[in-house]
């Protein structure tokens, strides 16, 4: 019996100690980890969608915007990445998501302060390679630049100015829907950011 108790005690002690040490390490690395995550997941897209010529790091300067509360009362936060020149915001970007053919399609959308799109980039998706996946190609995303407002950001079949990727209407629609969602949020975010 003594053996068995020792067994339990030693194992619990090792595990507990390990939990203590790890939670400390977790806390200590939390900030840099989050920074790295944003930098490498969103960084490349940010570079594409924000206009050239800003002099800050949009990730360090990110602004958290409260969009409302969920059913549990927890605030819904959105990261907004501002591009600044000489301390003045020249553009900012945030992400938006819509359902595609095989799952969520997530985009980073950049705005000029007046609401004009500065660029759009697909961050994550799981569309069919060669078909839906072609929404990531510049030929498709380039079309969004300089557009403004929900009227312009529509598929050409619905009277908008975006040509869908041929054979991938659903994926294209998802991308467009996500951008539209972002545009809908723009006024509220602009208010908070600027």
């Amino acid at each position: 019996m003594r053996d068995l108790i020792k067994m339990v005690v030693v194992l619990t002690a090792i595990c507990g100690t390990s939990g203590l040490v790890l939670s400390y390490v977790n806390e200590a690395t939390k900030a840099p980890r989050e920074y790295q995550l944003l930098k490498f997941v969103k960084g490349p897209s940010l570079k594409v969608v924000l206009p050239e010529g800003y002099d800050n790091d949009p990730i360090t300067d990110k602004i958290q915007v409260k969009l409302g509360t969920d059913e549990k009362g927890q605030p819904i936060l959105k990261d907004v990445f501002p591009a600044k020149k000489d301390g003045k915001i020249v553009a900012f970007a945030y992400d938006a998501t819509a359902s595609g053919y095989h799952g969520p399609v997530s985009l980073m959308i950049g705005f000029a302060p007046d609401g004009t799109l500065t660029g759009v980039s697909v961050m994550t998706h799981s569309e069919t390679p060669g078909l839906g996946a072609r929404i990531t190609e510049p030929a498709f995303t380039r079309q969004f630049a300089k557009l403004k407002g929900l009227d312009q950001v529509k598929l050409s079949t619905q009277g908008g100015r975006i040509d869908a990727v041929s054979g991938a209407t659903i994926s294209s629609t998802a991308a467009v829907t996500a951008v539209q969602e972002a545009i809908k949020l723009f006024p509220k975010i602009k208010e908070e950011v600027l």
């Binding site: 619990t12 595990c15 507990g16 939670s23």
Partner: protein
């Protein structure tokens, strides 16, 4: 932070409690001994022990079903560890090592076809038994090398496996995978008890050697200049290389394949040189011995045969004691061979060497006068081996008129009749038996009746038609209480203490020469005839092993073997030169004498091997497939062109020198250069291979 500690600590706690509980709930009793033993085993799972892996072996060892030494892979260190776990002492186990038994690789041997299939001997074997002409040749595809779990084997340049002795553990895996049984385990015990069989490579000379020396191997060693290795090889079959090197009749040289070309290799002079080399070096090579068995054996007779038997019994781990009636050991070697052929100091050095291997000798102790077989067994000897020698050694003592009984109840007819003429014959009681008296059988039977025997049995090896007696004579004799057993042989004698009680007689009607005693037993009824006296017409006593009879006492688990004062005789298995192999008095060997010392040496070694088999509980029989004189063996009768090379001449004293010093040794022995040259003449024969110029592939293709 707290949640992390709680979560992981909690998981650890649950896991710990779970394991602790499980180890209680699902507790299965495993003998801690088994666990401990298994940990001590090497874990190679080689299967050399015959159990399914090390865990199986551990269980068998811990439960006493197997000895702690069964792990051949681990060797003595493991045995000691296992034994110390079990808390018992271990008996040392004789080390074994794999030995390839083929000397000519596929490039050098005659081939039936070019094999280009799966790289595995077992696959090659399926194609007409492999590519080699020779039925017992190594196929050289290295199945054994791949199978070796200890990496002790490698393939040589010549296409034959090489054994790294330091890595070989004697597990026997190679032996089991070799489809031709070429690579075998060998130990000192296996080598000294070996006979040449049909499934191994042997040269004509070694098959002809009555002692069975591996002649090509020792000549090869001598040719390399490794003279002591040559001596070691010779002494695995013959403890008398100095003697044989001088006086052997060397039948081997008659069969030497070089006879087909020029003259035979000087096999015997080479032996003499290497033996002299050892003697002149002043020290003796160490003789390999099996671990002690604790068995004591009395050897009766200190001549060449008795000393040989004692030497090999000592090498097999037993404790032999030689009883010699005369003041000196050596028998006829000392009494009838002149100094000019065999100097006494050479003989003494040789005999001293035999004694030093662990042989005790009592001289001036004569069987029947100073010591009796019954008493020796009573004293605790585990066997008595009788090697009293030929008729000439009996005669050299003069004809005894007061016959003392050497073997219990056994008399030589010649002694008995001389004693009777002198009026000093013993009074006989009970029934008697006569064997091997030929024409004199009926007269001898009458003599026995005169001496007091009640009923007399006469055993004939031949049939009734072959007997020299007419039907009337036989009928008359039978009417007088004489019973004839035709076509029969005496296979065993039984007795108690100093008395013969009965004799086992087997009918040979269905006997086929070459069969063993056991096979005979299976097909013929055995008669046990109670007799107190056995008379033989032979001039000598046969070689016999007297062994105590054990009785099983107690019941169930309490059974134990208890030694009684009863004994039985065991006949050593006959060598290759006997015509028949069953019966105490068998033609061709026991009833004649050894014409040469080398034959006595062979019989002595086979006697030792027979005693060993008896003591180890094995059947006393020649190994299956032993090559006998009548066996047809694959050989070659022509040699490919080889350059003749004259045989070296033996340097000898001139007749003038001989006259001047009659005691001096006449033959002087080869010089070292002569030995080296002569050894080069040896063709290092195998069954059909021999050393010859390498064939070019083209000519091989042409000849195919």
């Amino acid at each position: 932070m707290l949640s992390a500690i709680l979560a992981i600590g909690g998981l650890g706690f649950v896991a710990g409690v779970g394991l602790a509980a499980a180890s209680k709930i699902f507790y299965v009793y495993v003998d801690p001994l088994i666990v401990a033993v298994e940990e001590a085993l090497p874990g190679a799972n080689c299967g050399g022990c015959g159990f399914p892996g090390c865990s199986g072996a551990a269980e068998a060892i811990a439960t006493g079903k197997a000895p702690p030494t069964i792990c051949v892979g681990g060797g003595p260190a493991t045995h000691a560890k296992v034994a110390s776990i079990l808390g018992i002492e271990i008996k040392e186990v004789e080390p074994e090592i794999a030995r390839p038994g083929c000397y000519y690789g596929p490039q050098e041997a005659d081939l039936k076809y070019i094999y280009d299939g799966l790289n595995d001997c077992r696959a090659a074997m399926l194609l007409g038994g492999g590519a080699k002409e020779c039925p017992v040749g190594c196929l050289g595809l290295g199945s054994c090398v791949k199978a070796c779990p200890f990496g002790a084997l490698s393939m040589g340049e010549d296409g034959l496996p090489r054994v790294n002795a330091s890595l070989c553990t004697g597990c026997g895996t190679c032996e089991r995978v070799c489809p031709k049984h070429i690579i075998t385990l060998t130990s000192n015990s296996r080598r000294v008890t070996q006979e040449y069989t049909l499934d191994q490579c042997s040269a004509p000379c070694q098959r002809t050697c009555p002692a069975g020396i591996d002649i090509p191997a020792y000549i090869d060693a001598a040719g390399r200049g490794d003279y002591l290795e040559a001596v070691r090889i010779i002494k695995e079959k013959n403890p008398f290389p100095l003697v044989c090197g001088r006086i052997c009749v060397h039948p081997c040289e008659n069969e030497c394949r070089r006879n087909l070309l020029d003259e035979p290799v000087a096999i015997n002079p080479i032996k003499r040189f290497v033996a002299d080399f050892e003697m002149k070096s002043g020290s003796r090579i160490p003789i390999e011995k099996a671990p002690p068995t604790g068995k004591r054996i009395a050897v009766i007779g200190g001549g060449a045969e008795g000393l040989t038997a004692a030497f090999f019994l000592a090498r097999l781990g037993h404790e032999p004691t030689v009883y010699e009636g005369k003041p000196h050991l050596g028998g006829l070697l000392r009494t009838i061979i002149p100094d000019s052929r065999l100097p006494k100091d050479v003989l003494d050095w040789e005999i001293q060497g035999i004694l030093e291997t662990g042989v005790t000798a009592h001289t001036n102790t004569k069987l029947g006068r100073d010591v009796a077989i019954g008493d020796l067994l009573q004293e605790g000897y585990d066997a008595v081996f009788v090697a009293t020698g030929g008729w000439d050694s009996q005669m050299s003592e003069g004809l005894p008129t007061e016959p003392y009984q050497m073997l219990p109840g056994v008399h030589l007819l010649v002694h008995l009749s001389f004693a009777h003429m002198a009026g000093k014959a013993p009074q006989l009681a009970g029934d008697a038996m006569i064997v091997g008296c030929g024409n004199a059988s009926i007269d001898a039977a009458h003599l026995l009746k005169t001496l007091g025997a009640q009923h007399v049995h006469v055993v004939f090896r031949g049939s009734r038609q072959e007997s020299p007696f007419t039907d009337e004579e036989l009928q008359a004799a039978e009417a007088q209480g004489i019973t004839f057993h035709f076509r029969s042989a005496i296979t065993r004698m039984f007795g108690r203490a100093g008395d013969l009680t009965h004799v086992e007689v087997a009918s040979l009607e269905k006997y086929v020469p070459g069969q063993t005693l056991q096979q005979l037993h299976e097909q013929a009824a055995l008669q046990h005839i109670p007799v107190q006296t056995l008379v033989t017409g032979a001039g000598r006593f046969p070689e016999l092993i007297y062994a105590p009879v054990y009785e099983q006492r107690g019941e169930g688990d309490q059974q134990e073997l208890v030694r009684t004062d009863h004994w039985e005789t065991v006949v050593p298995y006959a060598g290759p030169f006997a015509e028949e192999d069953v019966g105490i008095f068998r033609p061709g060997e026991a009833t004649t004498d050894y014409k040469a010392v080398v034959e006595a040496i062979g019989a002595g070694r086979r006697g030792a091997a027979s005693v060993h088999k008896r003591l180890m509980g094995e059947e006393v029989a020649a190994p299956p497939g032993m090559i006998r004189r009548s066996t047809r063996v694959l050989t070659v009768d022509t040699l490919e062109p080889l350059s003749p090379q004259p045989r070296e001449k033996m340097p000898a004293l001139s007749p003038v020198e001989q006259m001047a010093n009659p005691e001096a040794e006449v033959e002087l022995g080869f010089s070292e250069e002569q030995v080296r040259r002569e050894a080069q003449r040896c063709l290092r024969c195998g069954l059909i291979c021999y050393r010859r110029p390498l064939q070019e592939p083209e000519s091989l293709a042409k000849s195919a």
